[in-house]
Symmetry: C4
Subunit: 192 residues, 4 copies
């Protein structure tokens, strides 16, 4: 089975998610600059989610690029990841409109956590499909980022009970951690 | 004629349908977790429809992968399928907002039924385009799932008059039936 | 210059236009079947526009398939066509919500007319880019449908002043005329 | 790394941005032609933004076509450009609904400016990835348009304080400047 169409479908979903999130940024009614002020938490949430979807797209791109084989399990593991990513516009809008209040920040963290777990499952399904000693397995290596992120999300979800801004800072920190493209895979692909 | 562009256009429509369905999940106004509670029927409907669109995409992927020839009839049979799938966001939203009431559940079933018939017509049009003894025809085989599903949808539509939850259970059961990727086609493609 | 990316971008726009039109079909609030009744003019408009976008996608597909060369003029002629098609959701919604009243039906006809003229310009730009005696030119032939349609749209726009339903019947008739895929191009491509 | 998937993802985002902008053109409630009159500033804004997104897509197409190598930096520079473009629907709607008032026109100019800077960064990142004496570098040449546009946007933003219509005229002028496809790149690609 060819991986091209899985990538094309995923790219479509990534592109739509990243773009419809901006629809939560409702056009204000006044023509003064003050009309924009109430929008800044929604805008900040949008920036954070845009970066997260960008990170997922980037890593998805790298991971499939290092994979040759795609089977039925991979298709469903991929749809499972896209399902959690499709909830980004909803939780981004809820968190932004409520100025990073406790519950919306916690639910945002839960969706981040589920997406991270879905990505981890997709990675394992892809590695299994490639067979032992595959390029992808060598490229991913020990994957400390993939193991650390869910832990940090859980800490972030817990922190919302005490201080939601701290949990938000943690979500931003995890994004920065991933913003660096996956050098391991890029390095392994040199000469490929 | 090349099948690549039909797949690309279909992937775009699949990706948009699966993503705009989430727009029916309106961002609630309160910041408490209670604000999420009224959304659970809409969320459940979304999950069910996401799985259905995922199943259609998966099987569409397998079916076109086993096809070499695409003609004008295939293009229109494909658009006919996409038309019924494009009604998923509407019927999903209506069913979810009315807590799986009788009429919305029946109309949801009608759209499932029409999509199933459209898929069956597309399959036959594709098989006819490939010529006799094609890979696709052998791969599809007796297609008991494709024959059983419309019957179950009709039963489900009838059940809404008596107990809508039972019809919903039936729609879920048909989804589970299809969730298993089409092993027949995958098996036939081994060594292909 | 490769034609692949022009097709991919156009497919994306076609797919989004055909799918966001369904958003004009607003989820009704009641759970009775009567709640669906007021939606039938919007639904009919949606079906007509879906068929029209499907026709444009089909013919666009055939036309680019018979073209090898794409230049800057083609890119802009293509964007010009997509611009008029992007107005379909707006005029479809306006016509449907006003039960095919005179002005909405006339404006719908104007957008159909402009899209037809834009398609005709795109065709000429593409033929010019292929050079004399090209496959595309032979395939298109005398193009009586492309010449007749704008005339019928103008008649339809005029008829809205007298009897809007007649103009709607004319729009449906033109759609049926085109529903037959462009056999000329298909025939010319045999053995290609 | 292949450039195909970057182009496919970008095409998806371009296609969605260009299409969801039309959603700001809300279907009016009356059936008379007067109901359309209040929409003309929103329509004009839409046309201007459609042309701008078309220009970006066109130049993006040319630029990647002249590039062979894509690295992690290019992926993020590209996402950065798409981020600013994703704000087009918002600023287009705000400017249109407020009849080109000072602040909305200024914010529209800021987004134009940021997109231009992001495009300039993407161009430099792409050129750096191709290595010295690349086809892309020769094709881009002195790039006077890319240097002049940000200056004109800054002037336009300043003019909103005095006469917003003048700044709008300037935005239109820059669009016309770019509407001519990048002949430099096309010329350099002859024989390529």
């Amino acid at each position: 089975m060819e991986r091209g169409r899985v990538e094309a479908f995923s790219d479509g979903v990534f592109a739509i998610i990243i773009t419809i999130m901006v629809l939560e940024l409702k056009v204000p009614h006044g023509e003064q600059v003050e009309a924009l002020l109430p929008l800044w938490p929604v805008f900040l949430s949008y920036v954070l989610s845009f970066v997260y979807v960008g990170i997922y797209w980037n890593n998805h791109h790298h991971m499939f690029h290092a994979s040759d084989k795609v089977n039925g399990g991979v298709l469903w593991a991929n749809l499972h990841l896209l399902f959690w990513l499709s909830l980004f516009p909803f939780v981004t809008g809820w968190m932004g409109e409520n100025h990073f209040a406790a519950w919306p920040a916690a639910v945002y963290g839960v969706v981040l956590l589920m997406a991270a777990l879905a990505y981890w499952m997709l990675k394992n399904t892809l590695i299994a499909a490639q067979g032992v000693h595959s390029l992808l397995q060598r490229a991913v290596g020990r994957d400390w980022k993939g193991k650390l992120s869910p832990v940090l999300y859980v800490v972030g979800i817990g922190l919302t009970l005490w201080q939601p801004w701290l949990s938000l800072a943690l979500y931003v920190a995890v994004a920065l951690l991933w913003l660096v493209p996956d050098r391991r895979i890029e390095r392994s692909l040199i000469g490929h």
